[in-house]
């Protein structure tokens, strides 16, 4: 999936949201007016009353039909998340793109599908496309639910970092506070490595080395490669802020979690650290 395709999808999503809003308002107005006028006119204007009842009934049936149709789209989005979990990203992408092109009366199903598509694009290393989708979702009027919006911001920052735009990445996560009460543990675990990467890339070592015990406790809950990444970044921050023994301890732990040479290939921020890691291992 390319960035242009993602951009087009977001534009089509905007148009669909507008159409859905217009449809909802129209159907609701017809049901309401039909109900009120059908009752008021029945004594004096029999034919008009019948027409109103018919219109209200048809609008109600249309609403129900469209609701069932929209629910099916949400089901497609959930099915796609099962494909993502089992590693079938190609199938997930195909289903989600189809779901996004179809009309839905409600926004949430579409936003869920769009969010999953961004996750798929990120998983396939199409960072530009994933960034376009996340950026588009955040800027949509009304936007996604609060939790989804937070995940979008984290995903967007990750993509921007991979694309080498540290400033845009920092901007994306600026509204999120790592130690804030509104973030759940799962979100903190997603945000921690990304925030540290932003801080190290921007040479904000003091900031990165702050609240070390709190960060370490969360780093210990991450999977091995990400735990190694966080430890290595914290080691770098500790070394730059003159905490030598702490830096050595963190680096030793990072080496125990994962091979730092492998990580350094994926994360440029670790390239400074890798040679020191090798020499520490040889001791």
């Amino acid at each position: 999936m390319s960035g242009t395709e993602a951009h087009r999808l977001i534009q089509s999503l905007r148009r669909q949201f507008l159409l859905a809003t217009v449809t909802r308002v129209t159907l609701l107005s017809v049901v309401g007016l039909g109900f009120v006028l059908g009752t008021l006119w029945q004594a004096h204007f029999q034919r008009g009353s019948e027409l109103m009842w018919s219109a209200a009934s048809l609008a109600a049936i249309a609403w129900l039909t469209l609701t069932f149709y929209s629910v099916r789209q949400i089901r497609v989005a959930h099915q796609a998340s099962a494909f993502i979990a089992s590693g079938r990203l190609d199938l997930a992408e195909e289903r989600l793109k189809n779901a996004l092109r179809k009309f839905s009366l409600y926004r949430n199903g579409k936003l869920l599908a769009c969010h999953h598509l961004a996750v798929v694009a990120h998983g396939r290393k199409s960072y530009r496309a994933a960034a376009e989708l996340c950026d588009g979702m955040i800027s949509l009027p009304g936007g996604p639910l609060v939790a989804t919006r937070r995940t979008c911001r984290i995903l967007l920052a990750d993509c921007r970092l991979f694309l080498g735009d540290v400033l845009a990445a920092s901007r994306a996560i600026a509204p999120l506070r790592l130690d804030g009460a509104d973030l759940g543990l799962a979100e903190q675990l997603l945000l921690l490595p990304i925030e540290l990467r932003c801080q190290i890339a921007a040479e904000q070592y003091e900031e990165a080395a702050r609240a070390l015990p709190w960060k370490l406790k969360r780093a210990e809950l991450l999977d091995a490669p990400r735990a190694a990444l966080v430890h290595a970044l914290l080691a770098q921050a500790a070394r730059k802020t003159g905490k030598g023994p702490v830096a050595d301890f963190l680096q030793r732990r990072a080496e125990l979690y994962h091979d730092l040479d492998d990580l350094a290939e994926e994360y440029p921020a670790l390239r400074d650290l890798a040679p020191r890691a090798r020499s520490a291992d040889n001791k």
Partner: protein, 287 residues
């Protein structure tokens, strides 16, 4: 953990069981509600005899159904939030808060089997922390008998049951379960957990030669899939090496284990590791 017995655990299983509505029944109910609104209005409109009551009753039924559905969904959402929060607290080792949130989460029927599995596994973890391994095993057995959770979760339950049996010193049962699990295909993440339990059984029963037979493969499996918990694996391997007199290797592995996990926590989780404390230097944690 408050005093709890097997009967109360059974009561919790009963209390959290959700009434199963067949899917067709749910659709039929919605269609019936829709028909209750549309048909009287239609008939009334046709015959010209629409009365206020004729219109009001079906709309009230539909509104009541919607409110009931909304309340049920809200209760499920709150229950899920409490269970998620309880898990988060447990991961951060805030056990008292975890227990409190879990009690709230298990206050009523839990519709999602995955949420129900999660809440009972956490209950078992809390019981194990209190040393009540027999009750933890009771929870696991009920989860397996009632097949609560998906395939992956059921395998996790089997592994947890094996560990509870080992800790409760029901060694024959534990070894039988481990032999069964060895033959089952499972994802590598769970295979690493299985290896850790098998290693603990070998160390516990003094089969040290068996424990270190595939030491390198085990170490790489632990490192790849257990993250911080790999430290327990290194500690157990160090214990076996120590008993075999391979002190240099034991010292290196003990240092790695204590670099990832503090010695006191290693011993708390795996008591046989107490013999290594003081024998070999442990890593100082400067944070």
């Amino acid at each position: 953990m408050q005093q709890i017995e097997a009967e109360q655990i059974d009561q919790r299983f009963a209390a959290t069981t959700a009434r199963a509505w067949p899917r067709q029944g749910r659709y039929a109910l919605v269609m019936l509600a829709a028909a209750a609104v549309i048909l009287p209005a239609w008939v009334g409109g046709q015959s010209g005899q629409t009365t206020g009551l004729l219109i009001l009753i079906p709309w009230s039924i539909l509104a009541a159904l919607l409110v009931a559905g909304w309340l049920a969904a809200r209760r499920q959402r709150r229950s899920r939030q409490n269970i998620t929060q309880a898990w988060e607290m447990a991961q951060l080792e805030n056990w008292a808060d975890a227990e409190q949130c879990l009690d709230l989460g298990m206050g009523g029927p839990i519709r999602s089997p995955s949420d129900r599995w999660q809440s009972f596994m956490l209950l078992a973890t809390l019981l194990e922390r209190d040393g009540r391994h027999d009750l933890a095993a009771h929870v696991h057995v009920r989860l397996l008998l009632e097949r609560i959770g998906d395939g992956y979760q059921l395998q996790q339950t089997q592994l947890a049951l094996t560990m509870a049996k080992l800790r409760n010193e029901e060694l024959t049962d534990a070894v039988r379960l481990l032999d069964q699990l060895e033959r089952l295909p499972m994802p590598l993440t769970l295979r690493a957990v299985y290896s850790l339990i098998r290693l603990y059984q070998q160390v516990f029963m003094g089969h040290h030669l068996d424990a270190v037979e595939n030491m390198n493969e085990q170490q790489s499996l632990f490192r790849r899939f257990l993250s911080t918990r790999a430290g327990y694996g290194y500690g157990l391997l160090a214990a076996s090496l120590h008993h075999l007199g391979r002190n240099v290797e034991a010292a290196k592995l003990w240092l790695d284990a204590t670099t990832l996990i503090r010695p006191e926590k290693l011993v708390e989780e795996y008591p046989p590791l107490a013999s290594l404390r003081g024998q070999y230097p442990a890593m100082e944690h400067p944070i």
